[in-house]
Symmetry: C4
Subunit: 200 residues, 4 copies
């Protein structure tokens, strides 16, 4: 498919993406806001809003970090993009759908005890996000008509993206299939950075 954009682009896609990410990352706080009147209605005090809802607060923080990191990654890829195709646009919309779904899966993790299903839904969402991001990097990499000439996607960046996707896949399989692991599988997602550092 041919390049769609000549003027004003890829800025418009990038701005739209940033707006959706900004909204999704900010909406994460709404379930915490809703906790307050609920705690009050049940006679709780201000301290118990925090102490009795550590799980919700922790998953809020976790999802904030997840979205922020994928935004940074998206940012790095689009540094290299000069024009974009309908393919990039559709893939980007799938990436955005996953971002929009994250406040929902975050709420599931915050509300229910962690088991394989809950861990699978959450890590699965991150897996889809990571696959989209790697696919975007692959789509741009080595396509001279898409890349900014003086700043192409480096082999290293592409590898980094694929390594992260690989680790997320393993985390997803462990968390959703092996009983008792659940969210501990996400610790695997801390590994790609040191791995890539050794690789150098």
């Amino acid at each position: 498919m041919s390049a769609v954009s000549k003027s004003r682009d890829p800025d418009r896609l990038v701005l739209f993406t940033d707006a959706v990410v900004a909204i999704a990352i900010t909406l994460l706080v709404l379930p915490l806001v809703d906790l307050v009147p609920e705690v009050k209605d049940h006679g709780g005090d201000a301290v118990s809003v925090i102490t009795k809802h550590r799980q919700e607060i922790f998953t809020f923080l976790l999802s904030f970090v997840v979205i922020a990191n994928f935004w940074l990654g998206h940012h790095r890829i689009f540094e290299h993009v000069r024009v974009y195709t309908a393919g990039i646009m559709r893939l980007n919309l799938l990436w955005l759908l996953t971002i929009v779904v994250l406040p929902f899966t975050t709420e599931i993790v915050g509300a229910f005890d962690s088991d394989r299903f809950v861990a699978g839904v959450y890590i699965g969402t991150i897996l889809v996000l990571s696959i989209c991001q790697s696919a975007l990097a692959l789509l741009v990499h080595g396509h001279k008509e898409l890349e900014t000439p003086d700043n192409p996607v480096s082999r290293r960046e592409l590898t980094g993206s694929l390594v992260l996707t690989g680790f997320t896949l393993v985390a997803f399989l462990l968390g959703s299939l092996v009983p008792g692991i659940n969210f501990y599988a996400m610790l695997l997602l801390l590994l790609p950075t040191p791995v890539m550092r050794v690789w150098r």
Copy 2:
């Protein structure tokens, strides 16, 4: 009415439009987020959040695709716009109103059994959106003072927009008037793309 904008435009209108679309498409997830504490309060588990609310999840996905596609169409039209008139601006605001209403009609579809009324409200919203989009394309097409000189609205794009509006009208009439069809009428909206391909 004369052209309103000289500087900073049509970028400001486009950015405002993108921001509203980004918010509306992200707000679609809020009713799903609200499902979680509700299911929990009724003693449901994490699996039932998904399995017992397939209708809500499906309409969420449907509306995401609808908004994303209209945004892509809007994007294509405004690729051709150099300056804009008060008429374009007001028409664009009507387009935006319909986008803002979509999370409401989505929620109606997600909550109630589908009948002619529910299908009519939902497909009707899409019809208004589609009429606005066609009117925008018609308003810009062939007006040299509005179009970017090297990139005018093509006859083909205009036809494509009108064909989509025509199919949406038929879908609306079938879904809201003929008993038993309801949302199956929306399958008609899959036709314009192959139709336009044959047309070529």
Copy 3:
């Protein structure tokens, strides 16, 4: 106070303003979205979501039109602004505060029977918005260091803004002080446009 901005401005203020307006205008739909599960929980059907909540739907539409119109007015003023002072920035933030408050006053109008208090709160919010907008126009008008040289604020625009503010003040006084008028006072806001046309 001296000019604050040299680079990237007033674009950043304008973009921030547009983002807040876009969010506020889209948030207006949330109370409508929340109606749906409420109606369903009380055994209502899809038709009654619309027929029994005409007041909420009407005030939603009214506030959409109000915000859209003030955004258009703001847009026109900032067409003329080249750099901005701390004064413009603070005044713009007050304008934004009023926009952010509008979903709250809209909800009050939608939920309660109209009386002088409800009309006063709603028209009062619009009055503050209109005063800010006129003050912005006054602040920029005739200040060569702020205006774009080839596109200053015209006398006519300034008069139009002040006339609108005057009519809003009268509407506010009538609606909040004279029993039985309430929201009919807002019909006065339809007058400034024909008045300005005769003026010409």
Copy 4:
């Protein structure tokens, strides 16, 4: 760490930041919107929405002013930034996290009687925000490769930022440790401006 961005930056970071701030500042109104049906369900009238919830309305206004002021401060710092490093980016994300958390702490302040815990949580959030802002100013100040050459961070701006952080720290300690002071400690935050004026 080396500079991350060459093209389109720091605009993308700044735009993303503005979007998150715009959303957070607008979301502040949602708890007020939610008050309306609640008051109505309990048989209250429109006047009591305002008169019986002065605390919520006041904290809404307070947080609006707090977010607006930090946005203005952020704005001033980024006037000086030409390119940014991964360090600035991560620090900016921490700043954003604090902004996103503010609607939550605002709701706690609005719902519960003020005591040392509530005051500590709220002023503590502002303290983190202020520390991030000072750290951003420090990071940029005197780094020729980051600053715009004709518009570096002035010594005075840096001092102003540090003085504000200092006063916020004292306010936090007083409000969260000394019984009976609570939110009166925030009056200290009015001092930095006159202090800096004398300093000149």
